[in-house]
Symmetry: C2
Subunit: 358 residues, 2 copies
């Protein structure tokens, strides 16, 4: 079992990684809660809800399930969960547990942030991707105009990461999670990047996954402790997310996985960076690794450039109607840059060409 | 012009009270915002929006209007305002201005708290009642099960209180606001209470109003600085609100004003307190003052006791399914007490009888 303590402006909290810890929740509760509501989705619930319930001995335990998928991160499901929480009799001294991937974590976390102006919540991520969203206290739902546009900075009271739950993930989800690990490695250093690109996602060994996961969490933890509210360095974690979010939103949440969209967005950021900074970045290595591991690098995803640029403008990083992007001077050295609409249009075209040519 | 500085865990902010300051907003902005969205309601907008706009010289100024009344504090209007903010191109560096009473302040404040995970906002209260809601950073919307059940603690960057705007208030609104001033006086001391009960709401002199308002704000400010997140003494501000919220919710938001409901709730708290603590409280003075000033103290509002108790249970102060109420040992000495369902039922009956008998 590994423990990483995160300092936040509201309170410190611990990330606990280990095998089988999903059924030991009682052990990690810091106080006596009047009631506990576990929020999960249909798929994760079927696999792990029983285990989690078995590890809780209090009387007032409730659980509710949402439809799996990004579509559930909407205002209607948010309101429905508030209703469920009220109907279960939750009060200010209650706990919400988010058992699932990033959708469940972001949604249940935002419910916790706003239920009676905020109650405690615990993240129990069950995907690789959620190593990213479960750490750092960013919770949100989507707006029809874009991803995560309505939300809060509201740290969990703990993150309980049972790596055993990752063994059941379909390859598509493994791919999605590794896109964020690659992103984190890109803003860390060359060695970390080389390590991550060693992963064979079609034959992933649990011990290899645990190592990559821990490296990602440590990088994320270091950054969010330095800049909780995303005023500075935390923005770097958005590498690949400007186009990534636009692609997800344009093609409909749930069609592309988040990580698949971020993968394309990351390549796009490298493409622009190489041109802007006149430098060589590991575009080719990453492209090759993505290709081998079946990332959907289809140019048709990019065909409606105007719509994508409009989507990018709705991004939270937009300042004064200018699109801000995270770019890389070198591996481990991210920067923020404004990229004009015209330049973006050109880069989307040259990027599409490059995707075909390679 | 008077200034009161409030310290909060997120940042300090200033309450500025004065005449005509609604048209000097630029002067009070602490930084250069990329855009400003003024949220108001149809009534307030007609009276004061032009003045506020005249005091702003930036290019990117937008405004939007909601329907007046508590019904607008719902999830649909909340989402609609997020949409408006996105369509106006607001970004993380934008400002939201809440121009209006408590509904506009709570709603626009909660939009600001959650738009792209939080942007700055300024409260410009235009009612007496809003002296209470605009100070302290509690923002929220209603759930169909009860008032303010979805929200945040999110302090404004400033409160600009133009007392000139209060001269246009209908008596019903003056009454509503004074109920909170009476509540604040009751938890302050006998002198403050005697002062407030000197007010003749049908012939209110502006200078008298300003004095009472400032006393209320100072009490509120002192309490929220001591206990921002309502873990302790801030709960005392809920005197009269347990039954008050239940009455509002049961009879439909907007039928009774908030203050009218709180007035009845305050009397009810005094009624219980006298019995529980075997003490004499200024029940009769307050009742007489409310009667003279036309507060709706109708027993028919209380007839469905079971439904009211159910509503009271949905209150945020409920702990372990027990209703917690703020009671008074003496004027200036509030306490929190659990009151059982059975006792509440009896108290509601004896209170109804007392309302008729006096």
């Amino acid at each position: 079992m590994e423990e990483i303590v995160i300092k936040s402006s509201m309170h410190d909290y611990t990330i606990i990684m280990g095998e089988g810890i999903r059924s030991q929740l009682s052990k990690f509760l810091s106080k006596d809660y009047s009631s506990i509501l576990i929020v999960t989705d249909e798929n994760v619930g079927e696999l792990f809800l029983e285990d989690v319930l078995a590890g809780l001995d209090s009387e007032h335990i409730f659980h509710t399930s949402i439809n799996a998928g990004e579509q559930s991160k909407d205002i209607a499901t948010f309101y429905k969960l508030q209703t469920v929480a009220l109907e279960c009799g939750l009060d200010r001294n209650s706990l919400i547990v988010a058992l699932g991937g990033g959708v469940v974590g972001d949604l249940a976390g935002f419910v916790a942030a706003t239920f009676m102006r905020g109650v405690d919540y615990i993240q129990m991520p069950t995907t690789i991707l959620a190593h990213d969203s479960s750490v750092g206290g960013k919770v949100a739902i989507n707006h029809e105009y874009g991803k995560n546009l309505i939300g809060s900075f509201y740290p969990p009271t703990a993150v309980i990461y049972d790596v055993e739950t990752l063994s059941t993930l379909p390859t598509k989800e493994v791919r999605s999670g590794y896109a964020e690990l690659v992103k984190e490695a890109l803003i860390t250093d060359q060695v970390t990047l080389a390590n991550v690109l060693n992963a064979d996602l079609n034959n992933l060994i649990p011990s290899k996954l645990s190592i990559d996961l821990k490296a990602g969490i440590l990088k994320k933890a270091a950054i969010v402790q330095q800049d909780e509210k995303e005023a500075g360095v935390r923005k770097y974690l958005n590498l690949g997310h400007t186009l990534g979010h636009a692609l997800e939103s344009y093609h409909g949440y749930g069609k592309l996985t988040h990580g698949e969209a971020v993968a394309i967005g990351t390549l796009f950021s490298l493409h622009i960076s190489e041109d802007l900074f006149n430098t060589n970045l590991p575009y080719k290595e990453i492209y090759d690794w993505m290709k081998v591991n079946d990332y959907p690098l289809h140019i048709k995803l990019l065909s409606d450039t105007e719509a994508l640029i409009k989507k990018m403008k709705a991004d939270k990083k937009t300042v004064d109607n200018n699109i801000q992007m995270v770019l890389l001077e070198t591996t481990g050295k991210p920067v923020n840059r404004i990229v004009s609409d015209e330049a973006l249009q050109n880069y989307l075209h040259s990027f599409s060409k490059r995707l075909v040519e390679v």
